[in-house]
């Protein structure tokens, strides 16, 4: 079945899968967002423990999605792995440091004799939540704002210096932090993760105090999210230049409004983008629209909305003859889904593997449902069950 697809179709198929994994990752970072709200939503020790345990049952999914996102990116577009990870060294290293400390923090925080003490592990959770979301947002923004690198594959033949890709300057990725547009997306992702966390927690716990505080916190986070997100959408997405790949010559050149053109020339993507935004706004506005039974269900709108929006955004970055990782140093070095992808054979093999994804999604849903059927309350911790 995939053997009959052209290389171009396979590349587009894999960009869509990468976009899907990326959008799921952004949604699942509600775990990280929640880790920055433990002391805001929870005041007593029991409340904090309740929040940590609500989030802690989902950290593996976020983590695994991140790992799979990395692996799938490596397998489908290895030149990105090579160029961005090796070049923006410090940006990615900072993200890695933010993630090493997450898993152990959950597992060790309440264990006796844990060396660092509960408070330090809770700080680890906060660092992971704040830095992880912010830096991933900054990194994703460079898909649109570009990065200073050169790729020259013939360098492989230079014995004294065989590096095929190199970063300009010595900042090695920290340069991304100097662009205010990248910071805007970083902050938007940070606040979005918090909004999603507030709604997820509200929907998962039985605790009046936490519910009350989550209502107060919702708008304190949703408004900055909207401000930063709209700033980024306008400045770095709709009204900015993208890098256009001329289909006949392969020449890559800047084009004003490229992403807007992409949205308009791919109506399904435009539809998903608008639908996503509407869902996000609906989820955020839900407590204003319905004061009673549905006010806790915001996550059912904001969650899918965030997935659709991010998915559509990532689609516009790579599809429709666009360079998804523009080089601000040498436009011809920019990465496109065509010049950075794996071979047709490998993409075909990987496409068969991708058929497992619906099956994986099905068992995750089933397992998630069987664990989450009952809302979590502090009674559970006294029953001798495993907890964090």
């Amino acid at each position: 079945m995939f053997e009959n697809m052209s290389l171009e179709m396979l590349q587009a198929y894999w960009w869509i899968i990468i976009s899907l994994l990326g959008s799921l990752l952004v949604f699942l970072m509600f775990v990280q967002g929640g880790q920055t709200l433990i002391c805001t939503l929870g005041k007593t020790e029991t409340e904090k423990k309740l929040i940590i345990n609500v989030l802690g049952r989902k950290w593996e999914f976020t983590f695994t999605t991140l790992v799979t996102f990395g692996g799938a990116f490596f397998a489908s577009f290895p030149l990105f792995y090579s160029t961005s990870f090796g070049g923006a060294y410090w940006l990615w290293m900072a993200i890695l440091f933010a993630f090493i400390i997450q898993a152990i923090a959950y597992e060790y925080r309440s264990k006796p004799n844990n060396f660092l003490g509960e408070r330090i592990f809770d700080i680890f959770l906060f660092i992971n939540g704040a830095l992880g979301t912010f830096l991933i947002g900054v990194a994703v923004s460079t898909f649109y704002t570009g990065a200073p690198f050169i790729v020259n594959k013939i360098s492989l033949s230079v014995l004294s210096d065989p590096s095929i890709s190199r970063w300009m300057g010595n900042a090695h990725g920290l340069d991304a932090l100097l662009n205010w547009k990248n910071l805007a997306l970083g902050l938007a992702v940070f606040f979005l993760a918090r909004v999603l966390a507030i709604q997820y927690i509200a929907n998962s716990v039985e605790d009046e105090e936490i519910l009350k505080r989550s209502k107060q916190q919702l708008y304190a986070n949703a408004i900055p999210f909207l401000v930063f997100f709209l700033t980024w959408v306008i400045s770095a997405f709709l009204l900015t230049r993208g890098y256009f790949v001329e289909p006949d010559t392969g020449r890559i050149r800047p084009l004003k409004g490229k992403y807007l053109i992409n949205l308009l020339s791919m109506p399904p993507v435009l539809f998903l983008f608008i639908a996503g935004l509407v869902f996000v706004l609906l989820g955020i506005a839900l407590p204003l629209l319905d004061h009673n039974k549905n006010s806790r269900k915001g996550i059912w709108y904001t969650g899918p909305g965030a997935i659709l929006t991010v998915f559509a955004l990532l689609c516009t970055a790579g599809l429709n003859d666009t360079a998804y990782y523009p080089s601000t140093t040498a436009p011809m070095s920019s990465l496109t889904i065509h010049n950075s992808s794996s071979s047709r054979y490998t993409l075909t093999v990987m496409s068969y593997v991708s058929l497992l994804i619906p099956f994986v999604a099905a068992y995750i849903t089933y397992a998630w449902y069987s664990i989450n059927r009952k809302k979590i309350s502090s009674d559970e911790f006294n029953s001798g069950e495993h907890s964090y």
Binding site: E60, F63, G71, F74, Y81, S82, S342
Partner: protein
């Protein structure tokens, strides 16, 4: 600009640091997940609540260990890109696929069902819970499969072809990559050795309970199960170890020479049973490589070639060339007589220059001459990686480290065969509690299992230097272009964080063991 050797060394150091820390946690995850699933199967089939207690106790220790394995694994995955950027492009078309499949096929399985395993006791049915425990074990072991397939491919690349247009190797046959004999042996050898480690871990801790006269039911049952499991794993490890060494002989003769401290090859070569290397030995000189040596005559030839009279080349032979190779992995041009390392370096440079010429001619539009250059490139591609080396001695790995690591690994493996048999017999006759010395020995054997696993990886990875990908890409041409200082800084940061995590892990683990399985599990005390 010249190659920054300091940066290469630190990048290698950082990768080794991450991999070694990773391998402190992963083997226990692999083996203990299976042991726990077996324990729970006993619980579900007998309905005996004691077995539920046993399962939950070991599950707690499993969870403490599992999380660091995950954290270090993420770092390893990304370090291929951050530190080995040329590598990521040069072989990413083959290497990336197993990593992605690992994520999609294995990690989700593991992470989804581990949540059911830990939080589902009172939420899902007994059978679903048991299935979840088995699926967690399956997920963990499947992820080992894919990463070991990827590692095996670096040791003995198969199923690909260099494409000068894309300047990288491209996969031609996925099944050849997956079922390469090196991959098959490596997977079973590594996984079975992990089962030994988990068995020794369970054995050691249970022995401590017996020494303290606590938890006798749990300890005795766990010891019996662990020793049966451990003995089977030890035998499987020995069997696949033979298979792995055979593959090394056939595919990486230099690594074999280093493992055995063999400088001057000979027919009917013996296997070193015990040896102390001569520290002043250099390749090519006349010094005896050993100060002390006892060997099993002809055994190395027999194990490596299944022929007691076969010629096993040593370090000097491989450098000088000129012998008729009996190993299987040999380019067509060397079938009757091997090239010297000098000749290989020269041919590697021809290949690299031809690659450059091909690209230049093609962009100038001279396709006819470009095809000629392509032919020269492909004729010499088997030596491509040699072209980056400066001198013949660059192809020699660190012989003492490889030699001692290999022998330590083998001694530890043999020791465990004896230990498991002894424990099994005494445990079967219920005599174990009287043998305090043996219980103490079992307890203090836990570190040995870790040393054995680390030694195995040192053989595999130090022994294959200078190659990131055997004969195709040396580490010095595989690295990212970053400054040495950045890598040094991240190295020390990782070293600090990993060490802190390790200390926390050990402290928590020791405490949980001393608390013991109270009320169905020592969580949350």
């Amino acid at each position: 600009m010249n190659i920054d050797y300091s940066m290469i060394a630190w990048s290698r150091g950082q990768f080794a640091l991450t991999a070694m820390y990773h391998w402190l946690f992963v083997p226990l995850t692999l083996g203990l997940s299976v042991l726990i699933a077996i324990m729970e199967s006993v619980y579900v089939s007998t309905g005996n609540e004691e077995w539920k207690r046993i399962t939950k106790f070991w599950m707690t220790l499993f969870g403490i260990n599992f999380v660091i394995g995950i954290a270090t694994g993420l770092i390893l995955e990304f370090e291929f890109g951050t530190n080995w950027s040329n590598y990521s492009w040069f072989v990413g078309d083959i290497f990336g696929a197993p990593l992605a499949i690992e994520g999609i096929m294995a990690f989700f399985l593991e992470s989804t069902f581990i949540a059911v395993m830990f939080f589902g006791w009172n939420k899902v049915g007994k059978k679903f819970h048991l299935v979840s425990s088995w699926l967690t074990a399956l997920g963990a072991n499947l992820s080992a499969l894919w990463i070991l397939v990827a590692n095996a491919w670096m040791q003995a690349p198969v199923g690909m072809k260099f494409n000068p247009d894309s300047a990288r190797n491209e996969m031609q046959d996925f099944w050849q990559v997956l079922f390469s004999p090196v991959a098959v042996n490596k997977f079973f050898h590594t996984v079975s050795s992990s089962y030994i480690l988990a068995a020794v871990f369970v054995l050691g801790i249970s022995s401590w309970f017996l020494l303290k006269k606590r938890e006798r039911f749990l300890a005795k049952r766990s010891i019996f199960l662990a020793s049966v499991f451990g003995l089977a794993a030890t035998l499987a490890t020995a069997f696949t170890g033979d298979g792995s060494a055979y593959q090394v002989t056939q595919k990486q003769p230099m690594k074999l020479a280093a493992m055995e401290g063999l400088y001057k090859g000979q027919t009917g070569s013996g296997l070193v049973a015990f040896g102390i290397l001569n520290p002043s030995k250099k390749n090519g000189d006349v010094n005896d490589p050993f100060l002390v040596r006892f060997e099993f005559p002809r055994l190395l030839s027999f194990l490596g070639y299944r022929n007691p009279e076969a010629f096993v080349p040593g370090v000097d032979d491989i450098i000088k060339g000129g012998f008729r190779p009996e190993y299987s992995s040999i380019p067509a041009a060397e079938q009757s007589k091997t090239f010297s390392a000098d000749e290989k370096i020269a041919r590697g440079r021809v290949a690299i220059t031809a690659f450059q010429t091909y690209k230049r001619l093609l962009s100038a539009g001279d396709t006819i001459k470009a095809r000629e250059a392509e032919k020269t490139l492909m004729d010499n591609f088997a030596y491509f990686g040699y072209g980056y080396l400066n001198s013949p001695s660059d192809v020699i790995p660190n012989v003492p480290v490889t030699f001692y690591a290999f022998h330590i690994m083998v001694y530890i493996g043999l020791y465990f065969v004896v230990l498991f048999i002894l424990i099994l017999i005494l445990s079967y006759n219920d005599q174990l509690e009287k043998k305090r010395w043996l219980l103490l020995t079992a307890l203090w054997s836990i570190p040995l299992a870790y040393i054995g696993g680390q030694a195995g990886w040192i053989v595999a990875e130090i022994g294959r230097q200078p190659w990131a990908v055997q004969d195709m890409l040396p580490t010095l041409a595989a690295a990212s272009k970053i400054d040495s200082f950045s890598v040094q800084l991240t190295f020390w940061l990782f070293a600090l964080i990993f060490t802190i995590l390790l200390i926390a892990e050990i402290k928590i683990m020791v405490k949980q063991v001393s608390i013991g399985p109270k009320n169905g599990g020592p969580h949350n005390v």
